[in-house]
């Protein structure tokens, strides 16, 4: 089967610093593909190039066979690529429901509708509510986004991405800053989504990575040093040396 996303020779540098170099990656339909690596390995830079927030210096990105290398983020979103942000990136002074409603609206063609009340559009609100339900935030729909807890912000990040009805979900450290209990909850949420979505997951929480990932790619200093199934990665000597030191890989 053709991969949903394929990346060929992607390179991005900031001044003299090469953030990602010579990245080749194939994401299969329906898999959860984790990307791990130490801080500064270029994981977020890679995600940003996939979502269109950054333009690559070199290389190509194909989504379902079509080149999207120079497409702006809003167009990629319409094709079915959604991302969440490592540092919470939401419409904080709007309500939780408004955040998700906008995401649904974005996929419904244009929003040059000046007259009827956006918050009374049942079809949009229903889809939005469903996305909130999927991440367990439905009871908070009327709260202001800035009033949510950190864990709830992370959930809303995912709800907003889900509300765009993506085919490919790019998750940039969804568990960042979460306690064990909250992480556990989020792992369950992602597990429930797994049959319906292809996901790329950047995560430092190894328990989450090994619980969820079908395949894992390891990045160090902007380059991929290994890609494979969790078992292979766990026993890969290069990965151990470069990333994990001598410590044991726990988590399953």
């Amino acid at each position: 089967m053709r991969p949903i996303l394929s990346v060929e020779g992607l390179k991005k540098s900031f001044g003299g610093i090469i953030a990602t170099n010579n990245i080749h990656l194939q994401i299969e339909q329906g898999e959860i593909h984790a990307i791990i690596g130490p801080n500064g390995a270029g994981k977020t830079t890679l995600i940003s190039q996939l979502s269109g927030d950054l333009n690559p210096d070199k290389g190509e990105i194909f989504f379902n066979g079509h080149s999207i290398s120079n497409m702006p983020p809003n167009k990629r979103s319409l094709l079915g690529i959604a991302r969440t942000f490592q540092i919470t990136c939401l419409m904080l002074d709007m309500s939780v429901l408004d955040n998700v409603t906008l995401a649904v609206q974005a996929q419904n063609g244009h929003s040059y509708r000046f007259w009827s009340d956006a918050r009374h559009n049942n079809q949009v609100i229903q889809t939005a509510s469903k996305a909130l339900e999927q991440v367990g935030l439905l009871d908070r729909e009327n709260a202001k986004a800035s009033d949510l807890s950190h864990g709830e912000h992370r959930q809303l990040e995912i709800a907003v991405a889900l509300a765009t009805q993506p085919k490919l979900l790019l998750l940039d450290e969804p568990m960042a800053g979460m306690g064990t209990e909250e992480s556990q909850k989020l792992i369950m949420i992602l597990e429930k989504l797994k049959p319906h979505k292809t996901m790329i997951l950047i995560e430092h929480d190894m328990a989450a990575v090994f619980a969820l990932a079908d395949r894992i790619t390891v990045m160090v200093y902007g380059e991929i040093i290994a890609t494979g199934h969790p078992k292979e990665i766990r026993s890969n000597p290069a990965v151990r040396r470069a990333y994990l030191g001598d410590q044991e890989l726990h988590g399953c």
Partner: protein
């Protein structure tokens, strides 16, 4: 009963404000105090201009320091045709709105590519260009301005040479503009504008070409302010480039912030406070701008919602 209890504070204040405005001519004709009518005319025109600025500034987060350009364009759209004895009101209003819209489209397309301080500076720069443009056109009075001998004519339909008719014409315009903004803000389009103010990066990430939406909003605000400018020309019977001096744009921002950004009645309260303070303070001292400044600082520091915020706080408490 249900309707009565659901009648929120905001609805009550809207009803109250417009009842007062509607009945004011009765009071002035009884007391023979025509002066108040003039004051309120100016207030209402400024309120329309400020409301249009509030749409982009308060709701859209686009801090334009050049909004007075549209007041000028609107006023000259009445003045220049009148100079050639073309008094057709519909034509003049059409000119005011379309020329303002085109100016907003062209300048907005450039301004909206910038952010923050750069946006503020570039909107101001465009307005200064219009300002100096009209200063240099001797035919239309240069910096001395131009007297409008005849107000817009609407045939048999409406005669605004009559001050009372003009008053109600402006009042109805104000109600219509505020209602229009009220609808826009709550629409899908309005939600996109709010979202783009709140977090433009995320809005693009979920699939919106926010630039186009912001530009559309910028044009709508320009058209509406151009309309206010046409009213202003009719009201003052005189136009000059001074109407679009950068300080005039500053005054509009002052009104919006004083009244309360992002609220429907804020611009009306702000304009009222502005007109009353200007009238009262300038009779007390030559340095009345000084007190204006101090007041703005107090509002910004202690009452973020402006006058509308203060009134809502006390009104809902009861």
């Amino acid at each position: 009963m249900q309707i009565l209890t659901n009648f929120s504070f905001q609805n009550r204040s809207v009803t109250l404000v417009f009842s007062v405005l509607f009945l004011l001519p009765v009071y002035t004709s009884l007391t023979g105090n025509e002066f108040y009518l003039d004051l309120v005319n100016r207030l209402m025109i400024l309120a329309i201009a400020a409301a249009s600025l509030n749409l982009i500034l308060g709701h859209g987060g686009m801090i334009s320091f050049g909004h007075a350009a549209y007041l000028g364009i609107g006023a000259y759209s009445v003045g220049i045709p009148a100079y050639y004895d073309i008094n057709n009101g519909l034509l003049q209003l059409f000119l005011a709105v379309t020329v303002s819209g085109i100016f907003a489209l062209v300048t907005g397309a450039i301004c909206l590519r910038t952010k923050g301080v750069y946006f503020i500076m570039i909107t101001m720069a465009f307005t200064q260009m219009v300002f100096f443009g009209f200063v240099s056109i001797e035919e239309y009075g240069g910096d001395d301005g131009l007297v409008i001998n005849t107000r817009s004519s609407f045939g048999q339909l409406l005669n605004i040479e009559n001050n009372l008719n003009l008053y109600y014409f402006i009042l109805i315009s104000l109600v219509a503009c505020l209602f229009l903004i009220h609808k826009i803000v709550r629409s899908q389009f309005g939600l996109v504008i709010e979202g783009s103010r709140s977090n433009d990066q995320r809005m693009r990430s979920i699939g919106f070409d926010t630039y186009r939406y912001r530009l559309t909003c910028y044009v709508i605000a320009g058209c509406m302010c151009g309309y206010a400018g046409a009213l202003l020309g009719n009201f003052t019977n005189f136009i000059s480039p001074e109407m679009m001096d950068w300080s005039a744009s500053g005054e509009l921002i002052f009104i919006v912030i004083l009244g309360g950004t992002g609220s429907i009645l804020g611009p009306v309260f702000g304009a009222a406070a502005f007109v009353i303070l200007e009238e009262w303070l300038s009779s007390l001292t030559l340095y009345w701008h000084f007190i204006f400044g101090a007041l703005l600082i107090i509002v910004v520091l202690f009452a973020k919602g402006g006058i509308n915020g203060i009134l809502t706080y006390f009104g809902s408490g009861k």
